[in-house]
Amino acid sequence: MSIGPVPDPTPALHLTGVSKSYAGTPVLRGAHLEVRPGEVVALLGANGAGKSTLLSIAAGILAPDAGRVMLYGAPVHTARRRLLGVAPQRLGIYPTLSVMENVVALATLHGLSPARARANATRVLADLALQDMAHRIAGTLSGGQQRRLHTAMALAHEPRLVFLDEPTVGADAASRERIVGYVRTVAARGAAVVYTTHHLDEVTALEAHVAVLENGQITRRAHAGQGTVTAHA
């Protein structure tokens, strides 16, 4: 009798009862979210629904008013450095450094040795079709190329949990395709991915589970395009 692989019982990300208010206005009201290794969750919601707030709390740079954040069973502050890779919505690159230097810099900050950071950076840049631009100054790249570099900087340290906050904003069609394709590869390697977007075609292409953030709570569907709704809030 063959026994298949036992799924990892520990969620990559487990948000429990997360609430957050700004100046008395509630943005999150006891939100719950669970993401398993290898899973892509598309976090959808209207502008101002609180997606970026939720990701900031999940990444440990914003304290919730209530609730708990666990990454692979450990509190976010102890686990995030090596486990977590985040590409925030706002582009964040060193425009005066080369593409390679940008990726190596972030990978080193995540704790990789310079040699390993460089090796990983070479691979990630190739995966995102930026290998021919590795020595170009980042500020001279096109908007779409900069967006791919921005994403590469979040992934070179091989995080097991990835937050990508609207990673294709301002990117051309080719860059969007590259980024979405690479996110699928990252998930296939076992990383959990939380992906926010306003492009439903990307959600479909990623075969993502959908989590909708509205009224400060998360409602989750089984898969993109399916009607099944699982209440998680």
Binding site: R81, L84, G92, Y94, E101, L109
Partner: protein, 253 residues
């Protein structure tokens, strides 16, 4: 500490890409030396100093003045990361605010220190500046003054609401500290109340230490007091920065 060193390494790379602002802060004070030396020479001779004392005073005075002005560059580096969206990324990479600031302060201190010492060395090569006291003392004072100035810029970064406010204050306070410190002329020539106020200026203690070593054949122990005061100034500025950043962090949560 490892995160701070990683931030410092990137900061140095960014700096290496364009060192023009640092070079300017070395070249301009050396350009000023021949213009200011004759007047200072006359003033010091009237106070009983030997011939050639003018350059011995003007070179360290300009080195200290431009080290103060260099605070702008440290502030620019702090705000630049916000404009580039890098600050948020560093924080998201699990780097604490303290590590980010330390990582940015380390190259800032190194540049301040190197700039001050290069102006002194340039003064020696070009204009015959030759300190007669302990050389190690000059290096120590340059380092401590650089630390105090980095902490000063950090405090402004933490206390000011906007970049333009911080830039305005770094120039206003920097010039006031330079003037009180004796960068534009000996403190002994200032009115009494200014001489009292000078004791609160880090520039006064840095310049007093360097000119003591330049003009008075002083041994290292002679600059112990200024060194202690510079460390105290750095601690006060740094404490103010930490306090203000904590308050801000609580307000933004």
């Amino acid at each position: 500490m490892r995160s701070a060193l990683a931030v410092a390494a990137v900061e140095l790379r960014v700096l290496r890409r364009d060192i023009t602002p640092v070079l300017v802060m070395v070249i301009i004070p050396l350009l000023f030396v021949p213009f200011l030396t004759p007047g200072m020479e006359a003033l010091l001779r009237s106070q009983g100093y030997p011939p050639g004392s003018g350059v011995q005073y003007v070179v360290p005075a300009l080195a200290v003045l431009f080290a103060l002005l260099n605070g702008q560059q440290f502030l620019t580096a702090l705000y630049r990361d916000r404009h580039w969206g890098i600050w948020e990324r560093l924080r998201l990479a699990g780097t604490s605010t303290a590590s980010v600031l330390l990582g940015k302060a380390l190259p800032g201190v190194a540049v301040h220190c190197a700039q001050l010492l290069t102006v002194l060395a340039g003064g020696a090569l070009l204009f015959g500046y030759h300190p007669t006291g302990a050389m190690a003392g000059i290096g120590l004072v340059a380092l401590l003054f650089a630390v105090a100035m980095a902490a000063f810029a950090l405090a402004l970064f933490a206390l000011c609401g906007t970049e333009s406010q911080a830039m305005a204050w770094v120039n206003i306070l920097g010039m006031a500290m330079a003037g009180l410190g004796g960068a534009f002329g000996p403190v002994s020539a200032l009115p009494h109340w200014m001489q009292v106020a000078a004791l609160g200026s880090p520039a006064y203690w840095a310049l007093r230490a360097i000119t003591t070593l330049s003009l008075d054949d002083a041994p290292l122990r002679e600059v112990a007091m200024p060194c202690v005061v510079l460390v105290g100034c750095a601690a006060v500025f740094f404490g103010a920065a930490v306090l203000a950043l904590r308050v801000r962090s609580k307000e933004s949560q």
